[in-house]
């Protein structure tokens, strides 16, 4: 093999990794943004894993029932996204009511919400579909976007072999950033996570802000879950593997991103890169030659999380009031 071939192979691998990385990064990004809204309003949201799976399940269920109607796959995807967002929001109410109104322990509530969904999906899928989840056969995958996909380099990097989830995700990132930093509501939400009593004293309804924060995390979590099902699971959802800890990885992404939207975006790319190494290892020549057990690649995102957290947690910028129920009477 001469150096020219090697270079060509290297470029192909690079394209392959970028093309595969983006659909993985988007669910992480959206769910981490959801976690950010929730935590910056003062509620720890460990239930993201469950919210994702809930959104993914109902999104896929919707796809399952409309897949024979001949609708355009991309329209189905958009409608499924709306279904995922609505179901994620509804499910997040279970957390916000418990955490905000009933002042429950947020970690325990979140854990319970994570456990209900896989069991529920297995229960219903086995009874009605005789399988462990919902399997759909709509092709959401886009091999090449017209015009844009023909642009040299950029076209191949960002507009070939992809899903529209990538563009929706980036659009949502922009919207979230603007909402978070440039609107009055965003400022109020952030105040409730830092010093709820100060916020309360200037007339902000802390309870409502926290409901908003958790609700947004439900919407983004539900969308993220459906995008996970579309972009990683090929339109399927399964009660056994669920979303493979992506809700928890998203929490790590959020911490690594220091609870800030743009940083979260780069953190999501970082984690998505590790996640993409597992399926692409057979394509990368020197990794292939090392003959490493596949299990190490599966562990990589989780291990990378720990390494990153070990370095970033000392000077953590966590919202000061997160996890503490707000009690109006307490000073």
């Amino acid at each position: 093999m001469n150096s020219n071939d090697l270079l060509k192979e290297f470029i192909d691998v690079f394209y392959f990794i970028v093309q595969n990385m983006l659909p993985v990064a988007i669910p992480l990004l959206l769910v981490a943004l959801g976690g950010m809204f929730s935590e910056r309003s003062g509620v720890i949201n460990i239930a993201l894993e469950g919210i994702m799976l809930f959104g993914a399940f109902f999104g896929c269920l919707f796809v399952y029932y409309v897949q024979n109607t001949g609708l355009n796959p991309q329209v189905i995807l958009l409608l499924g996204m709306v279904i995922g967002a609505i179901s994620g929001f509804i499910y997040s109410l279970l957390l916000s009511v418990a955490a905000v109104n009933l002042k429950a322990d947020q970690t325990i509530t979140g854990t319970a919400l994570n456990l209900i969904i896989p069991a529920g999906i297995l229960l219903f899928s086995r009874m009605y579909f005789n399988s462990d989840g919902v399997t759909t056969r709509v092709r959401f995958y886009i091999s090449k976007i017209p015009v844009l996909g023909d642009i040299p380099v950029i076209g191949r990097l960002f507009f070939q072999n992809t899903y529209i989830t990538v563009y929706i995700g980036l659009l949502l990132l922009v919207i979230c950033t603007i909402f978070f930093y440039k609107t009055r509501l965003g400022l109020r939400l952030r105040a409730c996570g830092e010093h709820p009593h100060a916020a309360d004293s200037v007339g902000i309804n802390v309870y409502r802000m926290r409901h908003l924060g958790v609700g947004l995390s439900g919407i983004l979590g539900g969308i993220g879950g459906f995008f996970y099902a579309v972009g990683i699971m090929d339109g399927n959802v399964n009660g056994h593997t669920g979303v493979a800890g992506f809700g928890f990885l998203a929490l790590a992404v959020m911490i690594f991103g220091q609870w800030k939207p743009i940083r979260i975006f780069f953190a999501a790319l970082f984690f998505a890169f590790f996640r993409t190494l597992a399926p692409s290892r057979s394509l990368i020549p020197f990794v292939r030659d090392m003959n490493i057990n596949a299990a190490y690649f599966k562990m990589l995102p989780y291990a990378a999380t720990m390494v990153v957290l070990a370095f970033t947690s000392k000077k953590s910028r966590a919202p000061k009031a997160e996890g503490i129920p707000f009690d109006k009477g307490q000073r």
Binding site: I108, T109, A119, L251, A295, M299, A310
Partner: protein, 406 residues
Amino acid sequence: MHNESLSKKNVFHLKKITGSKAFSTFTAALLAILLGLVFGFIVMLIASPPNAVPGIFAVLTGGFRRIADVIYYATPIMMTGLAVGFAFKMGLFNIGASGQYTMGMFFAMYAGFFFNLPRGLHWIVCVAMGMLGGLLWGLIPGVFKALLNVNEVITSIMFNYIGMFLVDMWIQTTPGMYVADKARTAYLPASAQMPSLGIPNSGVNISIFIAIAIAILLFIVLSKTTFGYELKATGYNRHASTYAGMNGKRNIILTMAIAGALAGLGGAFAFLAPSSIPGSSVTYEPINVIAPNGFNGIAVALLGNSSPIGIIFSSVFISHIQRGGTQARLFGYEYEIIDVVISVIIYFSAFVMLMQEVAKKALRQLLDSLKRSFGKKGAEKASDAQPAAEIMAEPELSEVEKEGQK
């Protein structure tokens, strides 16, 4: 309370019992269980209406037909429950019991397959190895928390995944441990299996006694030793305990290590159990799924209010409805119905104590308003009525209690 002096005479004993903290945590647990079962029943109704009543009946009573199995399956979740509960006492949420359990299982099995030891000693070494494996896996979140300030919840979850992938890989790549045709581990030698209690068709073994002994030991550690006191003090207020000169960092690492060791023992107990069929043993299937017994431990710990003694009973209860869940299959319900019930129980345990407070307050207000509207004479009656109302609230709970203890 305004009418306390009036009612004191009549209900002194009742008040003493119903007013105690232990009683209210007990009723809170019963309330969470009741809500969990009601929710499970609703799910069953939605899933298949005609079978819902016999189905829930099977869940509630199925365990009585297989008491030995209830005890057998209670042992591992008693250990993971203790692992979660012990860390809870210090304000640490050990969601990593699954990983610690899996690691304990692997260490115990490894010793079972490859240590050549005389009968009678072999299984003891295996159990000790299981404890060591869990301890190592519990130590990691402790070190991360104490020295690097990383939230133990995230660390534990990540190490659940890492531990599961590692163990599955180790098992699949260790010759002599794995039977590739069956995709399961091989049968353990008889000397590595724990002595059976001799009940036919059941794997129940002496580990239940070891587990109960450990629970009692933990109770003593928590209530009678300096370490236990420091642990609880740190759980109440970390800053105050640091100010009082307690070594918070050391205690965090120690607590997590002990919690890990307990979960590891759970893994050892689950897989070193004797088989009712001679020449076989309990086997493990490496399919990249996180051990559910770690999560069941969370439910056990919450229902037992993190008290080691409470956990003994709550683990038996959870095991009881799990066995009942296998019976519900006869009516077309999948076993996962029990996982739904258990997670709903966890959900309600998070704020059921609060609900109780709210209910008590509402009751008190109702009685006060009754008192006002009936004038002075009514006041005495109302004060009598109050403890009566407290009793009134009980029957529905005590029914559940009876069912649970039948």
